[in-house]
Amino acid sequence: MTHHPSASGSPVASRSTSPDSGDDAVRVDGVTRRFGAVLAVDNVSLSVGHGETIALLGPNGAGKTTTISMLLGLAAPDSGRIEIFGSAPGSATAHASVGAMLQDGGMMPGVLVGELLAMVRSLYAAPLALDEVIEITQLGGLEKRRVDRLSGGQSQRLRLAMALVGDPRLLILDEPTAAMDVETRRGFWHAMEGFTERGRTILFSTHYLEEADVAADRIVMMARGRVVADGTPSAIKDSVGLRVIRFTSEHAGIAGLETLPGAVSATARGNRVEVRCSNSDSALRALIATRPDAHDIEVAGIALEDAFITITDGIAA
């Protein structure tokens, strides 16, 4: 038997139904998108306020990229409604106010970095200065380099530069740091801070909880096409239960375990008991007090992917 926090019982407040969403940067209402028999995005609702930095967190196949494609007007929802600053995604007004970095966004081959940036810049009404973009994205010295002769990291920075150069009010980034090492990632988020300080809104996807935790004001967690949690990073971490305590007890049964401090859920298979925890330290102390017979105790981290899947199962049940 498995106990999981249900969607309604989750301590995480959902903002998607907040009544004052009239001036949200992004509004998604009951959006569904299928690919053949696969439900890639399943009745997703979320809203992003002005100036927020939101992480779309989830494992591969959670529907993050499909959601982002729909936000950008590159794919249309089968049902539901999306608004970007009150306009339809993909409309001229939306394109003028949104900058985006795609996972599979390519660059015009055979042209120079400086030429490409200047051309993209010329498409916007009130763009940033070229020098400023080059400085933020650390592309200095590469202006005369051909875009098809850049390294992976340099290409990624050029993609970011193309997203930033129009000085968009909303920046949408699909796994922006996927190809970056730790150092580059830190530099990237440092550059992004400068951007949000000017009141800009960022929505980015990632499958790293740590990254979402550090960079985002709010995390929207997706799994199997659905939003499974929506709240501040600390509320999300508490609800997911990212560590697990396993022990053997002849007094099988899990009664009372999920109410231990720091515990989220408990399961038993024979004598072996598993307690999922948001704070394994407190749970372990309480466990030893309440179950003195527990032995072969082991504390481990669990893969975020597993956490997502069990949460979805819990909701589906």
Partner: protein
Amino acid sequence: MLNYLGLEIRRSIRDRRYLLLVAGWPVAAYLLFSTVFGAAADRTEGLAPTVEIMVAMASFGAMGGVLMASGPRLAMDRQLGWLRQLRLTPLSPARILAARLMAAMALSLPAIVLTFIVAVLVKGVTLPLWEWPLLVLFIAAGCLPFAAIGIVVGTIADGDGAQGLTMVLYLVLAALGGLWMPVQILPSALQTVAKTLPSYHLAQLGWHIARGVAPALGDGLVLLAWFAGAALLAVAVSRRLTLRTA
């Protein structure tokens, strides 16, 4: 849009292999054919062989430059995700396609101009001065259907497929359209086919001007009809342009 157009053209001009193919090939073919057939009497179009072949090869090169600048390049950009990226800017899809159409059209010019220069310098071709700009203008404008055909090819075929399909189209249009040999030597069934092809009518535009007569309206209408057909097809398949290929 003009900045994008300019960058598209600049990118093609920088591609030396491409330029060699689209301008070098017709010039080499001109030198070969006009030397082999240059001594012959006036041919079917009532022009000196060096002039008739000059117009044919300029048309051949112009058509190739346009086909290769539109189709294979569009297929590549689509697969690289550049079109998806460009689609996220305020540049509308219609303007993106219009810019690509115009960029492809501009690449009819190197072959036309180079063939003319070689014809004058090497083969001593002389025409009334006013005919030269008209020839350049009409042959370049007559390439409009090929730009649209290229966009269809680049939208439906991928990478090497687009390259191959373009080459096949190019050679078939050139051979059957009478650019390499007069259509009169073809079997009569093929002649009927040949006279529906845009390449045939492109050459006719130039030959009319070279003879000092006004280009026939009929040739222009056939070229426009080919353009309209290809453009409709391009719009019909345009959804593929920004599909994820990964």
